[in-house]
Structure formats: structure tokens, C-alpha cells
Amino acid sequence: GLTKQQKLDRISALPGQPRELTFSHFSGYVTVNEEHGRALFYWLTEAATSAQNKPLLLWLNGGPGCSSVAYGASEEIGPFRINKTGLSLYPNKHSWNREANIIFLESPAGVGFSYTNTSSNLKDSGDKRTAQDALIFLIRWMSRFPQYKFRDFYIAGESYAGHYVPQLAKRIHDHNKASSRPVINLKGFIVGNAVTDFNYDSIGTIMFWWSHAMISDSTYHKIIKTCNFSDENTSTKCNEVVNYASNHELGDIDQYSIYTRTCM
């Protein structure tokens, strides 16, 4: 029962994939701006069982500039993980497509396989256009996959997706207000380690460094005394003391996972 375009987007097999798959997956491009030639790349992995009854989830990563299939799709919630040679895939037994149909979106144009025919677009991206393009992507993608219209829909993500996810949710919410029967049936969103508020996030980060004994008392007090994170631009003195903490006290660790070895 696939349409012509869905057949074109269907992935028959990925190089190095585990032999038998219990789900269908699709990928391809959706144009979001004809004038500038912006097109976003998606990868839909349908639910492993009863896909037609399961909700739809859109996953976005962080950055800005890093919402690619390297992270959510290939390291975290997708059905496949990539082995270290980059030649084969192995199954992720905790893949979220056990519970939902999942779309991974490379966003905005310029990330991963997503592209723009207007090179200046790579230098004038920002939150607003990213949210607008993502909304247009969703509307057009649902025209391509109408079986997902009116389906329970959620958004998820991490890190700078703390901006992308609520901003897209707001765009959808505003878009839906104009319709008596909205096609995008947005129910909610979930975000991890999310960038939320520059001032409070910054203070909370310094508190974490100190409370986890990653920086000295002296450096902690200097940062608290010197830095005013509510200012639009941080001062040179503040940058110096934060850089000192990063370069001389945090040490050669993986700041994204403080008890994990760094990748050599």
C-alpha cells in the first residue's frame, strides 16, 4: 500500500545491517524552501510491531549545527549502532522504535545530508528559521506519509534541542490554532540535558563543577565574583577565569560524561 514516493524513499537494505529487520524504514529529502533551495534529510524508522497503531516521534539533536543522524539515530535511540570499523551495524535492543515510529531529522540545512543551494544560508541560520523550516518539513512530510496525519505526535531531543524542540512545539501550536482539525496532532515533548536559560544554566554549570569537586574553591569563588551571566556579553575577566578552570582544573576529561575516558 505504499505510494510511488514512499516506494522511492523506502530503504531496502543498509550496507552491513543485521540480517532480518522487523520494521520498515524510509529516508530522503523534503524541500522546505524552493527559493533558496533548502532541503532537509529525514530517516523514518517505523515501529517494530503494530506501526499503524503507534505514535510518531520526531528526534532532534543539539549544536546548533549538530542535529545529525550521528547522535540520536546512530548512538542513542535508533535501531542500529555502528561498529568501530564503520562497516557494519548491530541492533540496539533498547531502540525507541519498539514503542513509536521515529523520524530523525538533519536540521537545519547545512547539517549532515541536509543542504541549501544558497551558500549564504550556511552563515545566516538561527533559531527562528530552523523552527520555521522544521514546521514546513513536517507539513510536507505528512503529505508524503498521510498515514501519520492526526496520529499522536511527540517531539524529543537533547542539548541545544532545548531550543529546537520547544520552539518547534510553539510553531506547531500556533499553526494548529488556525485549524479546526489539525493534521499535526502534537501531544507533548521530552528533552534531555537541555539548553534552557543562558543565565541560570551558566550559574548551574559552575555549581556542578564545584559540587563535583572538578574545580577548586578559589576558582569557584573567582567565577561567581567575576562573571555576570545575565549580561549579553561575558567580560574578558570572566572568560579568563572560566578558561583557567577549563584548561587547568577540569583537566583532560570528557566533559559530556565526566567519569568516562576521553576518546583518543
Binding site: 537545519p108 545530508f113 550556511l122 541560520s125 544554566d201
Partner: protein
């Protein structure tokens, strides 16, 4: 190092062909993060808290979680930001469980659920896949995280 594996895999021509990707011949290699975009990002809201207030009022289901070994956007950053929403507490702070292990701690506010994931870094489902999946299932079901 898993990011490096993705760089190898997604730059293979046969992978791109199978995924119907790079059909226009993009003039740069596939890469996990675009440095050009990061360097030139134009607009970024200082605070998402007003947007959260609006979306909470709209009745959306909103969950925030935090891997507690991340020092880039750490748990204290999220808690400090969230505290400024001044949301009333619906279910008091408690440890949630993954089997017999504490998965993390959680608090349910009116309109928003916050949960930590013990031992997880920035990419929570990478470091704690089982716990992240429990979190996701609870979120989809609209249920609170398991108390035992």
C-alpha cells in the same frame, strides 16, 4: 568515540545510495556537526522559560530529563533554570527504579515532569539505554516513573 564511527559509515557511497542521500552532490563531506553553522549562528533566545510557560498553559505533556554526569548542560543547570518557572509540585521528589536499581530521581510539577538519570552523561540513551527507554515508555504512557 562512536561519533567517529558515524563519520566513516555515512561517508560511504554505498550507504548514501541506500539512503537516497547526497543526490545533488553536496560539496563537503558528511559530518556529524557543522562548524560553519555553529560559528555563524545568528539568533538564539536567551531563555526558553517564557516558551515553556506558554506551552504548559496549552496543556502539552512536557518532560525534562538530565543525565547526572554531564558537565556541559548539567543537572544543576536544568534544576536552577526550572526553579524559575515556579511550578507547583504535584508529586514530591522521589527515587525512581529500573529493576532493583535506582534509575535516578524525579519530581512531578503541574504541567512538567523532571527526572534525572543516574550515571548518564550528556547523551543519556547512549550511556543508560535501559533507563532511557523506561523514561520514554513512561512519558508516552503519561505515567509517572516507577517507584519500585
Amino acid at each position: 568515540c562512536t561519533e567517529n564511527y558515524a563519520e566513516k559509515y555515512f561517508n560511504r557511497p554505498e550507504v548514501q545510495k541506500a539512503m537516497h542521500a547526497n543526490v545533488t552532490g553536496i560539496p563537503y563531506k558528511w559530518t556529524a556537526c557543522s562548524d560553519v553553522l555553529i560559528r555563524n549562528w545568528k539568533d538564539s533566545e536567551d531563555s526558553m522559560l517564557p516558551t515553556y510557560k506558554e506551552l504548559i498553559a496549552a496543556g502539552l505533556r512536557i518532560w525534562l530529563f538530565s543525565g547526572d554526569t554531564d558537565s556541559i548542560v548539567p543537572v544543576t543547570a536544568t534544576r536552577f533554570s526550572l526553579s524559575h518557572l515556579n511550578l507547583p509540585v504535584k508529586t514530591k521528589w522521589y527515587p525512581w527504579y529500573s529493576g532493583t536499581q535506582v534509575g535516578g530521581w524525579t519530581e512531578v510539577y503541574k504541567g512538567l515532569t523532571f527526572a534525572t538519570v543516574r550515571g548518564a552523561g550528556h547523551e543519556v540513551p547512549l550511556f543508560r539505554p535501559k533507563e532511557a527507554f523506561i523514561l520514554f515508555k513512561s512519558f508516552l504512557a503519561g505515567k509517572e516513573l516507577p517507584k519500585s
